[in-house]
Each structure stands twice: as C-alpha cells, then as structure tokens.
Subunit: 237 residues, 2 copies
C-alpha cells in the first residue's frame, strides 16, 4: 500500500562539477547539510517515526523494518544508528524525560508558597503534555511495558523526579523536623498522583479534547489535599 516512497533519491546531482568554483563547504547544495547533519536527520526521523507508531501499539509490537520503512531507509541502514529497537527506546526515554525534569525543577525554584508551586507545576505539566503528547504516551505505555531496558530507564529517571521533589519538600518544611523517609513518602505520593493525571489527560484527549480544565483542577485539588495532610500530619505524629 504505502510502498511508493522509497524511490526519492535516484538522481543524485543535477549539475555536478560544472564551473569548478564549488569548493567551499558553505555553498548552497541542493541536498542539505554536512555528513554528520544528514546522519542526525535520519536518526531524528527514526525516533519520530517510532514515537508516531507507538500511539496505537507498544514498542514490542513495532518492528525494526517498519520503522526503517517509514523513515525512508532500507532495514539494514537502521543499524548505523541503533543496535536494536530496544536501544532506540532507551534513547527515546532520555530525550523525553530530561527536559521535562529540568522544567519541573525550575517551576519550583524561588517559590515558597505552596499554592504557587502547585499551580505552576500542574501548568507546566499540562503544557508539556499538550505540546508533546506522543512522548508522554510513549512513557506511560512503556513504563511497565514489555521491554526491560526501557522499563529500567524510565524507572531510573522517575526516581530522580521523586528525589528532586524530596529535596524541595525538605526546604519547604525546614523547621518542622520531617524525617527524610516521610518526605520521600509524600514526594512519591505526589509524583504518583501527577503520573495518574498525565494518563487521564492522555485518555481524555482522544475522546473529547477540551475537558483538560476539569482534569487539571482535579489534579490541583489532589495535590492541595496532600499538602493539607502534611500540615495535619506534623501536628500529629
């Protein structure tokens, strides 16, 4: 069916070695970029194609051949970029989670009032989910998915999220002598709640797109409930 796309690079150079003055590398070539750039472009295409295909299937259900086909290269050329689909998956995890982690860290930076932090965090998350739904779909799908290496990569990165949050909670509760264990417990609950929100967000997105608002207020409420619990906790235990 979709097999007519692989015939796009037959003619290579329209006017090759004509005037002799084409020496400097800064000339406007018909084909784009240097060798390294071209390679990076294909790499990107492989990653993007996989991300797109994973909308309706899991990583384990996507074949190397299919990804290569959609990216417009022959199956064997795939190996120039990744040793296997598993490796591609791990790279995809890094690429998806590292920027997000940075954004969430900065959303909490400099702020002290709990309310602000919660609103800001939920907003950042919502914006990211809206901007890169495929990445989040990939992450939720593969978090407990069939590929062990990918699962491990996500789990590791997620632990960093929790540890970031634990540090910030420690700063916010300094003076109320919380134990590290209890702080981690709360951070874990918050991260879990936000992960739940993400999945709800993705689910709802498919059916009726603009219910996001109610989901986000729900998420904020849940976080606020936990913060309230923290106040009561400190005056109990």
């Amino acid at each position: 069916m979709s097999d007519s796309r692989s015939r796009s690079s037959s003619r290579s150079s329209p006017e090759r070695s004509s005037t002799g003055s084409s020496r400097e590398p800064s000339e406007a070539r018909a084909e784009n970029g240097s060798r390294a750039e071209r390679k990076e472009q294909t790499r990107r295409k492989l990653l993007d194609v996989t991300l797109r295909l994973i909308t309706e299937r899991s990583l384990a259900g996507i074949s190397l051949r299919e990804v290569a086909r959609e990216a417009g290269i022959v199956p064997t050329a795939f190996y120039r970029h990744f040793a296997s689909m598993d490796e591609l998956g791990v790279d995809l995890v890094d690429e998806s989670m590292r920027p997000l982690r940075q954004m969430l860290r900065e959303a909490r930076k400099g702020r002290v009032a709990h309310g602000d932090i919660i609103t800001e965090t939920v907003a950042v998350l919502a914006k990211q989910v809206r901007a890169h739904p495929d990445q989040f779909r990939f992450l939720t799908r593969e978090r407990y998915g069939g590929v062990a290496a990918v699962r491990r990569a996500i789990s590791t990165e997620l632990r960093l999220f929790t540890s970031d949050l634990t540090v910030d909670l420690a700063r916010l509760t300094s003076g109320f002598n919380w134990s590290t264990d209890d702080l981690e417990m709360v951070a874990d609950l918050m991260v879990t709640a936000m992960l739940g929100t993400i999945t709800t967000l993705l689910d709802q997105r498919d059916r009726h797109p603009e219910d996001s608002v109610s989901i986000l207020t729900l998420a904020e409420k849940q976080l606020r409930l936990v913060v309230l619990g923290m106040s009561a906790w400190r005056s109990e235990a």
Copy 2:
C-alpha cells in the same frame, strides 16, 4: 531448542474396546473428566501459560503459536477457545479483577474507623499480590499496554473500583456535606496511590523479596495522609 514436547499424544488408546464392559461414564478412565471439563482444562492452561509468559514480555509480544505450543496443543486448536490473543487478554482481565474487587468491597464492609479500613485494605491487597503476582504483573503491564481492547477492559474495571470507594467514602463522611465530585477526587487519589503501591511491590519482589513490609507501611502512611488531608479540607473549603 524446546521442540521435543509436541510428541506426547501419539498413541491414543492403549487397550481400546477389549472386554466390552466399559460402558458406564463413572468408570476410572486413564484420561480425566467429561468433554466440557477437558475443554475447560485446556482453556485454563492457555490462560495460565499466557500469564506466565507475560512476566517478561507484553501481551503484544506473545504469539498465539507460542501459547498454544506451551499449552500442548496445535496452533489451530487455539481458536476453539479464543478468537484471538486479544480476546484471551480481555478474559484474563475479568478473571483477575472481579474477585479482587469483591474482596476489597468486603474488606471495607461494616467497619467505621478509618484506621481499621486502611490497615485492612492494604493487608488484603498485599495478600492478593503475594498470592497471584502474575495476575497483577499482567494488569500493570497491560493497563497502558499495546492492546486497545485489554486497555479498555482494565480501565472500565478500575473505574468500578473508584466508584465503589466513592460510595464508601460518602457513607463515612455523611454529615460533613462533601460534594460527589470531591469524594470522587479523593477516591481517585487513593486508588492511584494503591496502584502505585502494587507496582512498587512487584518491582521489589524480584530484587530482594522481603522488603514488602516497608512498602506496605509506606502505603498505609500515604493513605493516612490523604485521610488527614480530608479532615483539614472539610474545615477549610
């Protein structure tokens, strides 16, 4: 490698129609059970094999042939029981979740003090996870997995869990005029937290088995934190 197992049913009847006195169905046959029973046995085997194989792969990564092979039947005989692997997956969801839901409902029945309910609920969950780890692994793996039908089935059943809990929360907070939306919000948070506990429980089980205790106290703490949050909430909003 593992191909030497399919040659176990070559000789069918060692002494067929010898004496003529083998008429009544209550006779001690070498093979067991009636026709319907035999069929149910094979069905069970198919379900069990799938559950076992899913420990290290996802449903989408398990082939119909492999399941049939491990169950000791020929691939085509699979269709006598399920129309596809997807259908088998949906049946597996029902079988795993319905009894659990019943148990959790009864764990909350007749109790009024929050502490009791929390302890009891976590205990029931822990016991079930310990008793049927494969089922829970299957559920967490396929909850956002690659097979749409299975995803939907789990999601539906999970919503019932939340709605059960919402009803019970309504009973417990009667007189404090909570809105249904807010009760659902809390119930959702609690269910999400417990799902997180389950996955942590399964992860840790593989590495060092007897850290379950600390995970369970963590789970109880999280639930208790939420309940504390509820008290503070009602006196605020």
